[in-house]
Each structure stands twice: as structure tokens, then as C-alpha cells.
Assembly symmetry: C2
Homo-oligomer: 326 residues x 2
């Protein structure tokens, strides 16, 4: 089967199936998009490489889901509404069952967010997936990393650390007490993350900065602090601890929550005056939103994060996940 057939057969849909935001979808040299008047276009690119970001045994539908989810998560962190995406797929061979599953998982998530596949490229080579997602955000209102202010609360969505636990099991380093039920749940979170798209849009005008937790809570908080010229105090006692992590020793829980990557929850800052509003959002969205600390002025420009467990200071022994250090 040829390159052109692949795109048409597995990824291209006739008009009327799925969302149609693009003036011209895949099949021409370029896709054509028209953001509405007064809107900016938000653009994000992420690559998943076999053996690095996913195992060769992963269910292709889950992989299709995740490849788009990590990009929608970046749009969510800006508060953008997904519009369209392009897919660059490098495949060692044409495996029709695999492609069919991959397309199904990918397009199901795309449809759920009204996000249209508008173009792509398939090439032969080691398995890798690069998606570029595009969304709309009202001009000048996008959530940035650079907006945190002195005294802002620091919030996190959901249960960070669950994806980390699944990864430990796959690495043969499962902590004791991980039941089959817990593993199934955290595996789902690792392989099929939910991008917080509705939350991101709801935070426009509410949050002062936002980022998605792909590299670990502390590592991603550091990005916000550096860009905002802030330091922070986190209260580790306030960290949301997933029921899946409940039976783990406390130091392991903290490893998972503070440094486990791949969660795709949102970390954001908001003025204390927004506390009631954020609590209300949590109820509306059915998603835990937890205040875990606050931003303050730096000493000599260092974006330091101090950890406190109640009144006690904890040493910060965690660093961000980094592909080229691993």
C-alpha cells in the first residue's frame, strides 16, 4: 500500500464525518484555516518516539489518543479551543490493523474536541508520531507561563503522580501494594491521559499563568517561576494524593506527585480573590482543583521552590525529567 493510499484510507474522511473547521482538509499541499476575527491562533508541536515515550506493545488506539492528547494539553494550558491538527507519522512498515486502531483512537479524541485532522505526512522509518495542534484563543487573553504575580495561589488539577506509578510497574520497579485494579487505573492514566481542555478555557481571565504537567509538577512549576520572575512555597501536606497512591510510603508518594511526569494536569496560578471561583469551577467540571502553595518574590532572581510539610521545611531532592539526561 502506498503513502497516498495510507492517508486516504485510514485518516481522511468524507465531508460530513467529524468536524469541519478547515476550509480545506488533508489531501492538498496545505490545509487552509481561518481563525475567527479577534482570535489568535495557538500552535503546539509534540513528538512521541517508540521506546522513549511509549512501549512497542501499547494498544495502538491508546497511542493514537495520547499522541493528540499531549498536544491538546498544550492548547489547554494556553486556554485555547482546539481547531485542527496535522499528523506526521513515521512507520517501519504498513500494518493495517495497527493503523486502523491508531486512527480510531486519534480521531475519537479529535471528534470529542471538535478538532479536525487537516494534513499530514507519512514516511518510512523508526516509529514516531509528531502532531501539530492549532487552537483559537481571544487575542491577548492566552494563559502564559509568565503571568504569575506575588501572592498568587498555586493550583493543580486532578491527581498528579498516577502516570508515574504505571511507568514504575512497566519498568519492573513497582512499589509494594499496587493491586491489579490500581494498576489498570494508573495505566489508563499513563496511556490515555485526559487533556484539561475545558478547564484551560474556563481559566481565561481567572488564572494569571498556566502550564501542563508533562515534565513533573516541580519541573513545570519551575518554568512558570522562571518566566514570571517568582519564587514559590509549596505545602506538601496540601498536595492532592490519588487514592491509587494511598498505600505507598510517603516519600514514594512525594516522588510520584512532585516529580512524576506525563500527567497532563494543569498547574496554574491565580489571585487569592479567585479562590471561590476556582472552587466553583472544580464542582462544575467534576475535577479536583487543589491549592498547593503560593508565589512570592525571588531572592536575587532565583526561582526557588521551598517545600514545607506543615511547619517543617523539606529538602527539595527532585528535578525535572529531561529526555537527554535520562
Amino acid at each position: 500500500m502506498g503513502e497516498f493510499d495510507l492517508i486516504e484510507r485510514f485518516f481522511w474522511r468524507a465531508d460530513g464525518q467529524g468536524p469541519r473547521r478547515a476550509a480545506l482538509g488533508n489531501g492538498d499541499d496545505c490545509a487552509l484555516l481561518a481563525p475567527a476575527s479577534g482570535m489568535q491562533l495557538a500552535v503546539s508541536t509534540d513528538t512521541l518516539v517508540e521506546g522513549r515515550h511509549f512501549l512497542s506493545t501499547v494498544d495502538p488506539a491508546r497511542l493514537g489518543h495520547k499522541a493528540l492528547a499531549v498536544n491538546l494539553s498544550d492548547l489547554a494550558a494556553c486556554g485555547a479551543a482546539p481547531m485542527a491538527f496535522t499528523l506526521a507519522l513515521t512507520l517501519p512498515r504498513v500494518d493495517e490493523a495497527w493503523l486502523s486502531g491508531f486512527a480510531q483512537g486519534l480521531l475519537a479524541l479529535a471528534d470529542a474536541h471538535g478538532c479536525e485532522l487537516v494534513g499530514g505526512d507519512t514516511t518510512a522509518g523508526p516509529l514516531a508520531i509528531t502532531i501539530t495542534a492549532m487552537g483559537e484563543v481571544p487575542a491577548g487573553q492566552a494563559l502564559l507561563r509568565s503571568g504569575a504575580k506575588v501572592g498568587d495561589d498555586i493550583w493543580v488539577s486532578g491527581w498528579p503522580g498516577e502516570a508515574w506509578l504505571a511507568l514504575q510497574v512497566f519498568r519492573g520497579q513497582a512499589p509494594e501494594g499496587v493491586s491489579a485494579e490500581v494498576f489498570a487505573q494508573v495505566r489508563q492514566r499513563m496511556e490515555c491521559p485526559t487533556p484539561r481542555v475545558a478547564l484551560g478555557q474556563a481559566l481565561l481571565g481567572v488564572a494569571t499563568s498556566a502550564i501542563d504537567i508533562s515534565d513533573g509538577l516541580l519541573g513545570d512549576l519551575h518554568h512558570i517561576l522562571r518566566r514570571s520572575g517568582m519564587a514559590a512555597v509549596l505545602d506538601t501536606a496540601a498536595l492532592p494524593c490519588s487514592p491509587c497512591l494511598a498505600r505507598l510510603p510517603r516519600p514514594t508518594q512525594l516522588d510520584a506527585i512532585l516529580a512524576g511526569g506525563d500527567d497532563y494536569e494543569l498547574l496554574f496560578t491565580a489571585p487569592a480573590t479567585q479562590r471561590d471561583h476556582v472552587a466553583h469551577l472544580s464542582t462544575t467540571l467534576g475535577l479536583p482543583l487543589t491549592c498547593i502553595g503560593y508565589a512570592h518574590e525571588t531572592e536575587a532572581g532565583v526561582p526557588r521552590v521551598a517545600l514545607q510539610e506543615g511547619e517543617q521545611c523539606l529538602p527539595n531532592r527532585w528535578t525535572s525529567f529531561d529526555h537527554f539526561k535520562a
Copy 2:
């Protein structure tokens, strides 16, 4: 060196260096772009994989140039003006000399076209480069593959076939009579193609359809014919034959011109009434534009291409290059 340092060190430039079309460049979750009022956004994605699209020994500056050039060529085929691009770079290791060369070639071409690097992702893995380029085109005016009409002339820019000749030499299948001087010239064309950006924009309102020749002249013509519901006659005697191909046997010349891919010239159709205008464009742009045939009605919907050498019919023994057939 970490992932974040890599992006900042090699690809991120302070304000004032290079073009600044984006409201927010790389470094945040998303880049933010604002196409001007009345403009559509044209989006193209292409991946280059080591060993498939380039040799491991290629000069990194040329590779950086080419990775962007193939995407700008897609924008050119739509008549779009380049605005911005994202870069997804998968690297087996951090080689600073390589990265520096790659960035230099990439950003030099970007600057030449006022096209800003606005985001990206670097990951560890087998060397591959995916670029998504975005451009602007007046709403409703983009050149499509589907617009060719009965009686339209078929035109091609430049000297298709030169990149093919370089590839033959690299494969150890050099035809006789390729001098060192010719090889240097065709190698430059293969490794450092010139996207026909100015031509594409000049063809808005002139051409009825356009495509860039990445898969070979006949293969790409076939895409236009299929989308437009047309058939075609090409006069092989009219094909532009590069001076670099002049000493090759005629059948080899035809292989190169009709089926050699990777040229990134534009193939387009235009009504006969535009002949003088296209000839004038050729002079203005200093670029050969050659009329090589015409479009006509299909028989039973088959987008067939008939080849004639003067009065004689030639059998069509060429098919499009296809990554999964090779």
C-alpha cells in the same frame, strides 16, 4: 545538556534578531499567531528521516535548509506567504557542532522568507525532523490541486530532474558523463532546494491549480488531474532539459525529468489566455517557466497522461515515487 537548554541555545533568539511575526515565540506551551484580517492560514507538515530522505553524512546546514525548504515549497504551491513554523527534532545524541550547523542553515532560510520559528519539541531517538510551516493567503484565493480546467496549459518551473541525478550518483548508479562540476551543481539542488515562494504568490489569480514536484513530475501531475477530474497530454519534446542532463542518453533524461522526485519546482495549470503573463513572470523572477502540455476531458474519469514526442506517442513507463513501495 538538557532538552530545554537545547531549544534555547540553538534555536531561540532574542527579540530583534530575525523576523517577529508571532505574538509569542517558542518557550511557552503554545505559540500565538494572528493572521491578518481577510487572510486564511495555510498549514503544511513534512518529515525528513535519516537514511530515507537524507544521508547521515549530509552537511547539517544544508539539512536544516532542506527541512524548512520542503515545507515552504508546499506553502508556495498554495500561493501562501510564509509566516511561521514549528520544529520537532528527534536526535540520537546532543552534538553541538551538528546542532549549530543545522540551526544556521534552518534560520538563514527562515529569515530570507520572514518566517519565524515559533515552537518545537526536541526528543531523543533516531534522527528525524518534522516541520510544520504556516503561511497566509487571501481568503478563497489559495491555489489548489483541484482547479485545472479543460484546455489549460500545463507549466513547470526550473529544471526538474537535477535532484534525481545527484541521487543516482550517491547510489553508485551515476550515468556516464557526469563531471565533477555537474555533480556539485545537482548535489546543491538535491541538498539545498530553492522553494518557489515568490512564484507561488505571483500565480494567485493566474494559475488554476498548482502542486510542488516532490514525488516526480508525472506523479504530481497525476494528483492534479485526479483532483481536477482531468486528463492530460504532455509533449516530451517541450520538457525543460537542464544543461546538467544534456550529456545523458534521452531515455535517462526522461527518467530524470518525468519521474525524478525531490525537485521542489512548481507544476501548475493556467488558461491559454495567461501565456504572455506567465512568460513575463518568468523574466521577472529569472526562473524558467515552460509550457509542457495541456489538460483535457477524461475518458470514463481516468486521469490519464498521454506522452507525445512531437507527433509520436510514447508509452508511459513511469510511476510516482512512493516511500512504502521503494
